[in-house]
Amino acid sequence: MAPIPGSGLAKGLAVTLRTMTKKSVTEQYPDVQPDLPPRTRGVIGLFEENCTVCMLCARECPDWCIYIDSHKETIPAATPGGRERSRNVLDRFAIDFALCMYCGICIEVCPFDALFWSPEFEYAETDIHELTHERDKLREWMWTVPAPPALDPGAEEPKELAAARKTAEKLAATQAAQTTPASQAAQTAPAAPTAPTAPTAPTAPVEQPEPPADRADTRPGPTEPPADRADTRPGPTEPPAGRTDAKPGPNPEPESGSNPESESGPNPESGPNPGHGPTASEGGAS
Protein backbone atom coordinates (compact mmCIF):
# COMPACT_ATOMS: atom_id res chain seq x y z
CA MET A 1 0.00 0.00 0.00
CA ALA A 2 1.37 3.34 -0.96
CA PRO A 3 1.93 5.65 1.97
CA ILE A 4 -0.51 8.46 2.45
CA PRO A 5 0.82 11.57 0.73
CA GLY A 6 2.32 13.89 3.30
CA SER A 7 2.71 11.20 5.93
CA GLY A 8 6.46 11.65 5.75
CA LEU A 9 6.06 15.36 6.41
CA ALA A 10 3.86 14.65 9.40
CA LYS A 11 6.34 12.13 10.69
CA GLY A 12 9.08 14.77 10.54
CA LEU A 13 6.96 17.20 12.50
CA ALA A 14 6.24 14.52 15.07
CA VAL A 15 9.92 13.80 15.52
CA THR A 16 10.81 17.42 16.25
CA LEU A 17 7.82 17.88 18.53
CA ARG A 18 8.66 14.75 20.47
CA THR A 19 12.26 15.84 20.85
CA MET A 20 11.10 19.18 22.19
CA THR A 21 9.16 17.54 24.99
CA LYS A 22 12.11 15.41 26.04
CA LYS A 23 14.83 16.57 28.33
CA SER A 24 17.74 17.93 26.38
CA VAL A 25 21.04 16.18 26.64
CA THR A 26 23.19 19.28 26.95
CA GLU A 27 25.94 19.08 29.56
CA GLN A 28 26.31 22.45 31.25
CA TYR A 29 29.90 21.67 31.94
CA PRO A 30 31.56 24.67 33.53
CA ASP A 31 28.54 25.14 35.75
CA VAL A 32 27.83 21.50 36.39
CA GLN A 33 30.62 18.99 36.64
CA PRO A 34 30.10 15.98 34.40
CA ASP A 35 29.14 12.74 36.05
CA LEU A 36 32.02 10.59 34.92
CA PRO A 37 32.15 6.84 35.28
CA PRO A 38 34.71 5.58 37.78
CA ARG A 39 36.94 4.07 35.12
CA THR A 40 37.24 7.32 33.20
CA ARG A 41 40.68 7.81 31.72
CA GLY A 42 41.17 11.39 32.76
CA VAL A 43 44.71 11.56 34.05
CA ILE A 44 47.28 9.19 35.46
CA GLY A 45 47.94 9.49 39.17
CA LEU A 46 51.14 8.29 40.77
CA PHE A 47 51.06 6.58 44.14
CA GLU A 48 54.74 7.19 44.58
CA GLU A 49 55.05 5.34 47.88
CA ASN A 50 54.44 2.18 45.94
CA CYS A 51 56.90 2.95 43.18
CA THR A 52 60.06 0.88 43.20
CA VAL A 53 61.61 2.53 40.17
CA CYS A 54 61.41 -0.72 38.27
CA MET A 55 61.02 1.34 35.09
CA LEU A 56 58.50 -1.05 33.60
CA CYS A 57 56.04 1.73 32.92
CA ALA A 58 58.64 3.89 31.22
CA ARG A 59 59.78 1.02 29.06
CA GLU A 60 56.32 -0.15 28.10
CA CYS A 61 55.06 3.31 27.31
CA PRO A 62 54.47 3.40 23.54
CA ASP A 63 55.00 7.14 23.47
CA TRP A 64 57.99 7.28 25.79
CA CYS A 65 56.24 9.95 27.72
CA ILE A 66 57.27 8.80 31.21
CA TYR A 67 60.45 10.21 32.64
CA ILE A 68 61.99 8.51 35.66
CA ASP A 69 65.18 9.45 37.44
CA SER A 70 66.43 7.60 40.47
CA HIS A 71 69.49 6.86 42.46
CA LYS A 72 70.60 3.96 44.58
CA GLU A 73 70.95 4.13 48.29
CA THR A 74 72.66 1.60 50.44
CA ILE A 75 70.99 0.42 53.57
CA PRO A 76 73.33 -0.84 56.22
CA ALA A 77 72.96 -4.44 57.21
CA ALA A 78 70.19 -5.08 59.63
CA THR A 79 72.16 -7.57 61.66
CA PRO A 80 75.86 -7.53 62.36
CA GLY A 81 77.71 -9.46 59.72
CA GLY A 82 74.79 -9.21 57.35
CA ARG A 83 74.88 -8.02 53.81
CA GLU A 84 74.20 -4.40 52.93
CA ARG A 85 71.15 -3.88 50.84
CA SER A 86 70.55 -1.30 48.21
CA ARG A 87 67.36 0.23 47.09
CA ASN A 88 66.23 2.67 44.44
CA VAL A 89 65.06 6.08 45.46
CA LEU A 90 62.76 7.91 43.10
CA ASP A 91 64.11 11.31 42.16
CA ARG A 92 61.85 12.29 39.37
CA PHE A 93 58.69 10.84 37.95
CA ALA A 94 57.09 12.87 35.20
CA ILE A 95 54.50 12.14 32.55
CA ASP A 96 54.30 14.29 29.46
CA PHE A 97 50.59 14.48 28.85
CA ALA A 98 51.23 16.17 25.56
CA LEU A 99 52.63 12.86 24.37
CA CYS A 100 50.55 10.50 26.42
CA MET A 101 47.89 8.75 24.38
CA TYR A 102 46.03 7.49 27.41
CA CYS A 103 46.46 3.86 26.46
CA GLY A 104 46.86 2.90 30.11
CA ILE A 105 49.61 0.38 29.44
CA CYS A 106 51.76 1.88 32.21
CA ILE A 107 48.93 1.35 34.65
CA GLU A 108 48.36 -2.19 33.49
CA VAL A 109 52.01 -3.06 33.60
CA CYS A 110 52.87 -1.60 37.00
CA PRO A 111 53.46 -4.58 39.30
CA PHE A 112 53.29 -2.49 42.46
CA ASP A 113 50.09 -0.57 41.85
CA ALA A 114 51.77 2.75 41.79
CA LEU A 115 49.82 4.13 38.82
CA PHE A 116 46.10 4.70 38.68
CA TRP A 117 43.54 6.23 36.38
CA SER A 118 41.86 9.31 37.73
CA PRO A 119 38.78 10.92 36.18
CA GLU A 120 40.30 14.34 36.71
CA PHE A 121 40.50 16.11 33.36
CA GLU A 122 40.81 19.82 33.99
CA TYR A 123 44.53 20.19 33.56
CA ALA A 124 44.73 22.04 30.27
CA GLU A 125 47.66 24.38 29.92
CA THR A 126 48.40 27.24 27.59
CA ASP A 127 51.88 25.98 26.84
CA ILE A 128 52.59 22.48 25.66
CA HIS A 129 55.68 22.27 27.83
CA GLU A 130 53.62 22.75 30.93
CA LEU A 131 51.82 19.52 30.18
CA THR A 132 54.76 17.57 31.55
CA HIS A 133 53.59 16.99 35.07
CA GLU A 134 56.03 16.08 37.81
CA ARG A 135 55.63 13.67 40.66
CA ASP A 136 54.10 16.10 43.14
CA LYS A 137 51.31 16.87 40.73
CA LEU A 138 50.88 13.22 39.84
CA ARG A 139 50.83 12.35 43.52
CA GLU A 140 48.16 14.94 44.11
CA TRP A 141 45.99 13.36 41.46
CA MET A 142 46.05 10.19 43.50
CA TRP A 143 43.49 11.82 45.79
CA THR A 144 41.08 12.01 42.89
CA VAL A 145 41.23 8.30 42.14
CA PRO A 146 37.82 6.91 42.96
CA ALA A 147 37.20 3.69 44.79
CA PRO A 148 37.01 0.82 42.37
CA PRO A 149 33.53 -0.15 41.32
CA ALA A 150 32.06 -2.94 43.35
CA LEU A 151 32.01 -6.45 42.01
CA ASP A 152 28.79 -7.85 40.66
CA PRO A 153 26.65 -9.50 43.31
CA GLY A 154 27.26 -12.93 41.87
CA ALA A 155 30.86 -12.38 40.91
CA GLU A 156 33.60 -14.82 41.69
CA GLU A 157 35.46 -14.13 44.88
CA PRO A 158 38.66 -12.18 44.23
CA LYS A 159 41.67 -14.44 44.18
CA GLU A 160 43.49 -12.59 46.93
CA LEU A 161 40.52 -12.90 49.21
CA ALA A 162 40.11 -16.56 48.44
CA ALA A 163 43.78 -17.24 49.03
CA ALA A 164 43.86 -15.22 52.20
CA ARG A 165 40.79 -16.88 53.56
CA LYS A 166 42.11 -20.33 52.75
CA THR A 167 45.39 -19.69 54.53
CA ALA A 168 43.69 -18.15 57.49
CA GLU A 169 41.42 -21.13 57.81
CA LYS A 170 44.38 -23.46 57.55
CA LEU A 171 46.19 -21.48 60.21
CA ALA A 172 43.20 -21.54 62.48
CA ALA A 173 42.87 -25.27 61.95
CA THR A 174 46.51 -25.94 62.88
CA GLN A 175 46.23 -23.73 65.90
CA ALA A 176 43.09 -25.51 66.92
CA ALA A 177 44.78 -28.88 66.48
CA GLN A 178 47.68 -27.81 68.68
CA THR A 179 45.49 -26.83 71.58
CA THR A 180 43.73 -29.32 73.75
CA PRO A 181 40.35 -30.46 72.64
CA ALA A 182 38.91 -29.01 75.82
CA SER A 183 39.88 -25.48 74.99
CA GLN A 184 39.19 -26.00 71.29
CA ALA A 185 35.82 -24.33 71.49
CA ALA A 186 37.32 -21.34 73.21
CA GLN A 187 40.17 -21.10 70.72
CA THR A 188 38.21 -21.08 67.51
CA ALA A 189 36.21 -18.06 68.49
CA PRO A 190 39.14 -15.65 68.70
CA ALA A 191 40.77 -17.26 65.70
CA ALA A 192 37.85 -16.47 63.50
CA PRO A 193 38.35 -12.74 63.30
CA THR A 194 41.91 -13.17 62.09
CA ALA A 195 40.51 -14.45 58.87
CA PRO A 196 39.76 -11.74 56.38
CA THR A 197 36.20 -10.66 56.22
CA ALA A 198 33.92 -12.99 54.47
CA PRO A 199 34.03 -12.21 50.77
CA THR A 200 30.29 -12.45 50.45
CA ALA A 201 30.17 -8.68 50.52
CA PRO A 202 32.63 -7.61 47.86
CA THR A 203 31.53 -4.02 48.12
CA ALA A 204 33.61 -3.66 51.24
CA PRO A 205 37.14 -3.78 49.96
CA VAL A 206 39.41 -5.99 51.92
CA GLU A 207 39.26 -4.90 55.46
CA GLN A 208 41.92 -6.44 57.52
CA PRO A 209 40.09 -7.27 60.65
CA GLU A 210 42.84 -7.77 63.14
CA PRO A 211 46.15 -7.54 61.42
CA PRO A 212 49.27 -7.95 63.45
CA ALA A 213 50.36 -4.67 64.81
CA ASP A 214 53.52 -4.36 62.76
CA ARG A 215 51.59 -4.88 59.54
CA ALA A 216 48.69 -2.66 60.32
CA ASP A 217 49.55 -0.41 57.46
CA THR A 218 49.95 -2.42 54.32
CA ARG A 219 49.54 0.68 52.18
CA PRO A 220 52.10 2.92 53.74
CA GLY A 221 52.16 6.62 53.44
CA PRO A 222 49.14 8.80 53.23
CA THR A 223 46.45 6.60 54.56
CA GLU A 224 44.54 9.70 55.49
CA PRO A 225 43.60 11.85 52.56
CA PRO A 226 43.49 15.58 53.13
CA ALA A 227 40.44 16.48 55.03
CA ASP A 228 38.82 18.45 52.23
CA ARG A 229 38.76 15.55 49.85
CA ALA A 230 38.31 12.78 52.32
CA ASP A 231 34.62 12.49 51.67
CA THR A 232 34.56 11.93 47.96
CA ARG A 233 37.90 10.39 47.32
CA PRO A 234 38.51 7.24 49.24
CA GLY A 235 41.80 7.15 47.46
CA PRO A 236 44.41 4.55 47.75
CA THR A 237 43.90 3.57 51.31
CA GLU A 238 41.59 0.79 50.29
CA PRO A 239 42.97 -1.72 47.89
CA PRO A 240 40.62 -2.01 44.94
CA ALA A 241 38.74 -5.21 45.24
CA GLY A 242 38.23 -5.45 41.52
CA ARG A 243 41.88 -5.75 40.63
CA THR A 244 42.47 -9.39 41.13
CA ASP A 245 45.79 -9.62 39.40
CA ALA A 246 48.10 -7.27 41.13
CA LYS A 247 46.64 -6.61 44.50
CA PRO A 248 48.56 -7.97 47.41
CA GLY A 249 45.59 -8.21 49.67
CA PRO A 250 46.08 -9.01 53.27
CA ASN A 251 49.04 -11.17 53.87
CA PRO A 252 47.48 -13.97 55.75
CA GLU A 253 50.63 -15.69 56.96
CA PRO A 254 52.94 -13.10 58.37
CA GLU A 255 54.52 -15.32 60.94
CA SER A 256 54.23 -18.59 59.15
CA GLY A 257 57.64 -18.27 57.62
CA SER A 258 56.50 -19.93 54.45
CA ASN A 259 57.28 -16.76 52.58
CA PRO A 260 60.85 -15.92 53.35
CA GLU A 261 61.61 -13.99 50.22
CA SER A 262 58.96 -11.54 51.16
CA GLU A 263 61.19 -10.20 53.86
CA SER A 264 63.61 -8.97 51.21
CA GLY A 265 60.89 -7.34 49.23
CA PRO A 266 61.82 -4.86 46.57
CA ASN A 267 60.29 -2.01 48.48
CA PRO A 268 62.42 -1.58 51.53
CA GLU A 269 61.38 1.97 52.19
CA SER A 270 57.89 0.77 52.80
CA GLY A 271 59.06 -0.95 55.91
CA PRO A 272 55.76 -2.15 57.21
CA ASN A 273 54.98 -3.80 53.89
CA PRO A 274 57.86 -6.04 53.04
CA GLY A 275 55.92 -8.72 51.25
CA HIS A 276 54.11 -6.45 48.93
CA GLY A 277 54.99 -7.67 45.50
CA PRO A 278 55.92 -11.27 45.92
CA THR A 279 53.02 -11.94 48.20
CA ALA A 280 50.73 -10.72 45.56
CA SER A 281 52.01 -13.13 43.01
CA GLU A 282 51.94 -15.97 45.44
CA GLY A 283 48.50 -15.10 46.66
CA GLY A 284 47.27 -15.21 43.13
CA ALA A 285 48.93 -18.51 42.45
CA SER A 286 47.79 -20.34 45.50
Binding site: L9, G12, L13, V15, T16, L17, T19, M20, K22, S24, V25, T26, Q28
Partner: protein, 322 residues
Protein backbone atom coordinates in the same frame (compact mmCIF):
# COMPACT_ATOMS: atom_id res chain seq x y z
CA UNK B 1 -5.06 68.25 18.84
CA UNK B 2 -6.80 65.23 20.23
CA UNK B 3 -6.70 63.59 16.83
CA UNK B 4 -2.99 64.20 16.52
CA UNK B 5 -2.41 62.71 19.95
CA UNK B 6 -4.54 59.72 19.02
CA UNK B 7 -2.58 59.11 15.83
CA UNK B 8 0.72 59.56 17.62
CA UNK B 9 -0.29 57.11 20.31
CA UNK B 10 -1.43 54.50 17.81
CA UNK B 11 1.75 54.83 15.80
CA UNK B 12 3.81 54.61 18.96
CA UNK B 13 2.08 51.42 20.03
CA UNK B 14 2.47 49.90 16.59
CA UNK B 15 6.11 50.88 16.62
CA UNK B 16 6.70 49.33 20.02
CA UNK B 17 4.97 46.16 18.90
CA UNK B 18 7.08 46.23 15.78
CA UNK B 19 10.25 46.40 17.85
CA UNK B 20 9.41 43.93 20.60
CA UNK B 21 7.34 41.17 19.01
CA UNK B 22 10.03 40.15 16.52
CA UNK B 23 12.43 39.85 19.43
CA UNK B 24 9.98 37.65 21.28
CA UNK B 25 9.57 35.48 18.21
CA UNK B 26 13.31 35.39 17.75
CA UNK B 27 13.92 34.34 21.33
CA UNK B 28 11.19 31.74 21.06
CA UNK B 29 12.84 30.47 17.94
CA UNK B 30 16.17 30.20 19.77
CA UNK B 31 14.67 28.14 22.54
CA UNK B 32 12.14 26.09 20.57
CA UNK B 33 14.65 25.24 17.89
CA UNK B 34 17.21 24.28 20.53
CA UNK B 35 14.86 22.00 22.39
CA UNK B 36 13.61 20.44 19.19
CA UNK B 37 17.21 19.54 18.51
CA UNK B 38 17.84 18.28 22.02
CA UNK B 39 19.80 21.37 23.04
CA UNK B 40 19.19 24.10 25.57
CA UNK B 41 19.75 27.17 23.45
CA UNK B 42 21.08 30.39 24.94
CA UNK B 43 21.45 30.08 28.70
CA UNK B 44 23.68 32.92 29.83
CA UNK B 45 22.61 36.30 28.50
CA UNK B 46 20.36 38.03 31.01
CA UNK B 47 20.74 35.34 33.62
CA UNK B 48 17.48 33.45 33.33
CA UNK B 49 17.61 30.98 30.45
CA UNK B 50 19.27 33.50 28.21
CA UNK B 51 16.22 35.71 27.88
CA UNK B 52 18.36 38.69 26.84
CA UNK B 53 20.21 36.87 24.09
CA UNK B 54 18.73 38.97 21.30
CA UNK B 55 19.43 42.16 23.21
CA UNK B 56 23.02 41.03 23.48
CA UNK B 57 23.00 40.24 19.76
CA UNK B 58 21.67 43.70 19.06
CA UNK B 59 24.43 45.28 21.10
CA UNK B 60 26.95 43.20 19.23
CA UNK B 61 25.54 44.23 15.86
CA UNK B 62 25.56 47.87 16.88
CA UNK B 63 29.23 47.68 17.76
CA UNK B 64 30.27 46.22 14.44
CA UNK B 65 31.82 48.22 11.70
CA UNK B 66 29.46 49.19 8.92
CA UNK B 67 31.26 48.08 5.80
CA UNK B 68 30.21 49.00 2.28
CA UNK B 69 32.09 47.07 -0.40
CA UNK B 70 34.25 49.14 -2.71
CA UNK B 71 32.43 48.03 -5.83
CA UNK B 72 28.97 48.41 -4.34
CA UNK B 73 26.33 50.85 -5.44
CA UNK B 74 26.61 52.82 -2.22
CA UNK B 75 23.26 54.56 -2.09
CA UNK B 76 21.22 51.49 -3.03
CA UNK B 77 23.30 49.27 -0.79
CA UNK B 78 22.69 51.46 2.23
CA UNK B 79 19.04 51.95 1.47
CA UNK B 80 18.18 48.28 0.98
CA UNK B 81 17.73 47.30 4.67
CA UNK B 82 15.25 50.09 5.23
CA UNK B 83 13.30 49.05 2.13
CA UNK B 84 13.23 45.51 3.44
CA UNK B 85 12.10 46.47 6.92
CA UNK B 86 9.71 49.39 6.59
CA UNK B 87 6.95 47.65 4.62
CA UNK B 88 6.33 45.32 7.52
CA UNK B 89 5.96 48.28 9.84
CA UNK B 90 3.40 49.74 7.43
CA UNK B 91 1.51 46.46 7.20
CA UNK B 92 1.43 46.18 10.95
CA UNK B 93 -0.49 49.45 11.08
CA UNK B 94 -3.36 47.89 9.15
CA UNK B 95 -3.73 44.59 11.01
CA UNK B 96 -6.62 44.63 13.48
CA UNK B 97 -6.25 42.66 16.64
CA UNK B 98 -9.62 43.45 18.21
CA UNK B 99 -13.13 44.38 17.16
CA UNK B 100 -12.95 47.96 18.47
CA UNK B 101 -11.79 51.04 16.67
CA UNK B 102 -8.89 51.24 19.08
CA UNK B 103 -7.53 47.81 18.32
CA UNK B 104 -6.12 48.65 14.92
CA UNK B 105 -3.52 51.16 13.89
CA UNK B 106 -5.53 52.45 10.98
CA UNK B 107 -8.69 51.04 9.44
CA UNK B 108 -8.28 50.79 5.69
CA UNK B 109 -11.14 50.02 3.37
CA UNK B 110 -8.85 48.26 0.91
CA UNK B 111 -6.99 46.47 3.65
CA UNK B 112 -6.04 43.31 1.75
CA UNK B 113 -4.82 45.25 -1.25
CA UNK B 114 -2.72 47.52 0.91
CA UNK B 115 -1.29 44.72 2.96
CA UNK B 116 -0.34 42.45 0.09
CA UNK B 117 1.00 45.25 -2.06
CA UNK B 118 3.18 46.63 0.69
CA UNK B 119 4.42 43.22 1.74
CA UNK B 120 5.62 42.69 -1.80
CA UNK B 121 7.75 45.81 -1.47
CA UNK B 122 9.72 44.16 1.30
CA UNK B 123 11.14 41.68 -1.15
CA UNK B 124 12.38 44.63 -3.14
CA UNK B 125 14.85 45.31 -0.34
CA UNK B 126 16.45 41.92 -0.89
CA UNK B 127 16.57 42.57 -4.62
CA UNK B 128 18.25 45.93 -4.09
CA UNK B 129 20.73 44.38 -1.67
CA UNK B 130 21.54 41.59 -4.08
CA UNK B 131 22.06 43.91 -7.00
CA UNK B 132 23.98 46.62 -5.19
CA UNK B 133 26.43 44.40 -3.34
CA UNK B 134 28.67 43.77 -6.36
CA UNK B 135 28.97 40.17 -5.30
CA UNK B 136 28.06 37.14 -7.34
CA UNK B 137 26.51 35.35 -4.39
CA UNK B 138 24.45 38.39 -3.56
CA UNK B 139 23.34 38.65 -7.14
CA UNK B 140 22.33 34.98 -7.24
CA UNK B 141 20.47 35.45 -4.00
CA UNK B 142 18.71 38.50 -5.35
CA UNK B 143 17.67 36.68 -8.50
CA UNK B 144 16.38 33.77 -6.49
CA UNK B 145 14.46 36.21 -4.35
CA UNK B 146 12.88 37.69 -7.44
CA UNK B 147 11.97 34.30 -8.82
CA UNK B 148 10.49 33.31 -5.49
CA UNK B 149 8.47 36.51 -5.26
CA UNK B 150 7.04 35.90 -8.72
CA UNK B 151 6.16 32.32 -7.93
CA UNK B 152 4.57 32.80 -4.55
CA UNK B 153 2.91 36.18 -4.74
CA UNK B 154 0.32 34.71 -7.10
CA UNK B 155 -1.02 31.89 -4.89
CA UNK B 156 -0.90 34.24 -1.91
CA UNK B 157 -3.03 36.78 -3.73
CA UNK B 158 -5.45 34.15 -4.96
CA UNK B 159 -5.89 32.68 -1.50
CA UNK B 160 -6.51 36.12 -0.03
CA UNK B 161 -8.94 36.84 -2.85
CA UNK B 162 -10.90 33.75 -1.90
CA UNK B 163 -11.45 35.10 1.60
CA UNK B 164 -12.35 38.48 0.27
CA UNK B 165 -14.95 36.81 -1.96
CA UNK B 166 -16.37 34.90 0.98
CA UNK B 167 -16.63 37.99 3.14
CA UNK B 168 -17.67 40.31 0.36
CA UNK B 169 -15.22 42.92 1.48
CA UNK B 170 -11.51 43.65 1.24
CA UNK B 171 -11.36 45.45 4.54
CA UNK B 172 -9.53 43.44 7.15
CA UNK B 173 -11.85 44.22 10.09
CA UNK B 174 -14.75 43.64 7.73
CA UNK B 175 -13.49 40.18 6.87
CA UNK B 176 -13.11 39.24 10.52
CA UNK B 177 -16.54 40.64 11.30
CA UNK B 178 -18.06 38.44 8.62
CA UNK B 179 -16.20 35.37 9.85
CA UNK B 180 -18.20 32.33 10.91
CA UNK B 181 -16.68 29.22 12.42
CA UNK B 182 -17.53 27.08 9.38
CA UNK B 183 -15.28 29.24 7.27
CA UNK B 184 -12.45 27.32 8.81
CA UNK B 185 -13.09 24.06 6.91
CA UNK B 186 -14.38 26.02 3.94
CA UNK B 187 -11.23 28.09 3.54
CA UNK B 188 -8.74 25.61 4.91
CA UNK B 189 -7.03 25.06 1.54
CA UNK B 190 -6.71 28.77 1.04
CA UNK B 191 -5.34 29.16 4.54
CA UNK B 192 -2.63 26.59 3.96
CA UNK B 193 -1.73 28.03 0.59
CA UNK B 194 -1.60 31.53 2.03
CA UNK B 195 0.56 30.47 4.95
CA UNK B 196 2.97 28.44 2.84
CA UNK B 197 3.25 31.15 0.22
CA UNK B 198 3.83 33.70 2.95
CA UNK B 199 6.61 31.57 4.38
CA UNK B 200 8.20 31.41 0.96
CA UNK B 201 7.93 35.13 0.57
CA UNK B 202 9.65 35.65 3.90
CA UNK B 203 12.37 33.28 2.73
CA UNK B 204 11.93 31.22 5.83
CA UNK B 205 13.19 27.67 5.83
CA UNK B 206 12.29 25.37 4.15
CA UNK B 207 11.89 28.06 1.49
CA UNK B 208 15.17 29.85 2.19
CA UNK B 209 16.68 29.22 -1.21
CA UNK B 210 17.62 32.91 -1.65
CA UNK B 211 19.83 32.87 1.45
CA UNK B 212 20.85 29.20 1.27
CA UNK B 213 23.98 29.61 3.33
CA UNK B 214 25.53 26.34 2.25
CA UNK B 215 25.32 27.33 -1.40
CA UNK B 216 25.49 31.09 -1.78
CA UNK B 217 26.90 32.23 1.58
CA UNK B 218 23.96 34.33 2.70
CA UNK B 219 22.42 35.35 -0.59
CA UNK B 220 21.63 39.00 -0.92
CA UNK B 221 22.83 39.75 2.60
CA UNK B 222 26.32 38.35 2.12
CA UNK B 223 28.05 41.73 2.13
CA UNK B 224 26.12 43.23 5.00
CA UNK B 225 27.49 43.72 8.48
CA UNK B 226 26.49 45.30 11.71
CA UNK B 227 23.25 47.17 12.05
CA UNK B 228 22.21 46.86 8.41
CA UNK B 229 22.49 43.13 8.64
CA UNK B 230 20.54 43.21 11.88
CA UNK B 231 17.82 45.16 10.10
CA UNK B 232 17.48 42.41 7.51
CA UNK B 233 17.17 39.86 10.27
CA UNK B 234 14.65 42.04 12.05
CA UNK B 235 12.71 42.27 8.79
CA UNK B 236 12.52 38.50 8.66
CA UNK B 237 11.07 38.27 12.15
CA UNK B 238 8.78 41.23 11.66
CA UNK B 239 7.64 39.39 8.54
CA UNK B 240 6.76 36.39 10.67
CA UNK B 241 4.65 38.62 12.91
CA UNK B 242 2.90 40.12 9.93
CA UNK B 243 2.31 36.81 8.21
CA UNK B 244 0.94 35.17 11.33
CA UNK B 245 -1.23 38.17 12.09
CA UNK B 246 -2.58 38.25 8.56
CA UNK B 247 -3.30 34.53 8.47
CA UNK B 248 -5.09 34.87 11.79
CA UNK B 249 -7.17 37.77 10.58
CA UNK B 250 -7.99 36.34 7.17
CA UNK B 251 -8.49 32.66 7.88
CA UNK B 252 -8.66 31.95 11.60
CA UNK B 253 -11.28 34.49 12.56
CA UNK B 254 -9.10 36.98 14.38
CA UNK B 255 -10.74 37.89 17.66
CA UNK B 256 -13.51 35.31 17.37
CA UNK B 257 -13.10 32.45 19.78
CA UNK B 258 -15.18 29.81 21.50
CA UNK B 259 -14.93 31.59 24.82
CA UNK B 260 -13.96 34.99 26.04
CA UNK B 261 -15.69 38.20 26.87
CA UNK B 262 -16.10 40.93 24.29
CA UNK B 263 -13.21 42.92 25.61
CA UNK B 264 -10.74 40.08 25.34
CA UNK B 265 -10.89 39.49 21.60
CA UNK B 266 -7.35 40.72 21.14
CA UNK B 267 -6.14 37.87 23.33
CA UNK B 268 -7.52 35.45 20.78
CA UNK B 269 -5.78 37.26 17.96
CA UNK B 270 -2.47 37.21 19.80
CA UNK B 271 -2.91 33.59 20.81
CA UNK B 272 -3.65 32.42 17.28
CA UNK B 273 -0.74 34.45 15.94
CA UNK B 274 1.56 32.96 18.56
CA UNK B 275 0.52 29.43 17.62
CA UNK B 276 1.17 30.23 13.97
CA UNK B 277 4.56 31.70 14.85
CA UNK B 278 5.36 28.49 16.67
CA UNK B 279 4.40 26.55 13.55
CA UNK B 280 6.71 28.76 11.50
CA UNK B 281 9.57 27.83 13.81
CA UNK B 282 8.50 24.20 13.88
CA UNK B 283 8.56 23.98 10.10
CA UNK B 284 11.96 25.56 10.02
CA UNK B 285 13.39 23.02 12.42
CA UNK B 286 11.76 20.05 10.76
CA UNK B 287 12.22 20.38 7.05
CA UNK B 288 15.32 20.63 4.93
CA UNK B 289 15.64 23.37 2.37
CA UNK B 290 13.92 22.87 -0.95
CA UNK B 291 16.00 22.93 -4.09
CA UNK B 292 15.41 25.91 -6.36
CA UNK B 293 13.53 23.90 -8.97
CA UNK B 294 11.48 22.11 -6.32
CA UNK B 295 10.60 25.50 -4.93
CA UNK B 296 9.29 26.68 -8.27
CA UNK B 297 7.55 23.40 -8.92
CA UNK B 298 5.77 23.49 -5.58
CA UNK B 299 4.36 26.90 -6.34
CA UNK B 300 3.33 26.52 -9.95
CA UNK B 301 2.12 22.94 -9.92
CA UNK B 302 0.61 22.76 -6.47
CA UNK B 303 -0.12 26.04 -4.76
CA UNK B 304 -1.48 27.93 -7.77
CA UNK B 305 -3.90 25.16 -8.79
CA UNK B 306 -4.93 24.68 -5.16
CA UNK B 307 -5.66 28.34 -4.69
CA UNK B 308 -7.62 28.42 -7.94
CA UNK B 309 -9.62 25.43 -6.73
CA UNK B 310 -10.22 27.27 -3.46
CA UNK B 311 -11.55 30.27 -5.33
CA UNK B 312 -13.85 28.01 -7.33
CA UNK B 313 -15.07 26.37 -4.14
CA UNK B 314 -15.61 29.72 -2.49
CA UNK B 315 -17.58 30.92 -5.49
CA UNK B 316 -19.76 27.83 -5.59
CA UNK B 317 -20.54 27.88 -1.90
CA UNK B 318 -21.15 31.58 -2.01
CA UNK B 319 -23.68 31.18 -4.81
CA UNK B 320 -25.35 28.21 -3.14
CA UNK B 321 -25.88 29.88 0.22
CA UNK B 322 -27.36 32.94 -1.39
Amino acid sequence: MNDALDVALRLLIVFVVFLTFPLIVGQTEHKVMAHMQGRLGPMYAGGFHGWAQLVADGVKFAQKEDVVPAGADRRVFQLAPAVALLPYLLVLVAIPIGPDEGAVGQVLDAGIFFVLAVMGVGVLGSLMAGWASANKFSLLGGLRTAAQLLAYELPMLLAAASVAMAAGTVSLPGIVDAFEWWWLPWQIIGAIVFFVAGLAELQRPPFDMPVADSEIIFGAYTEYTGLRFALFLLAEYAGIIVLCGLTTVLFLGGWHGPWGADGLGWVWTLLKSAVLAFIVIWLRVTYPRLREDQLQKLSWTLLVPLSLAQIALTGIVKVVIQ
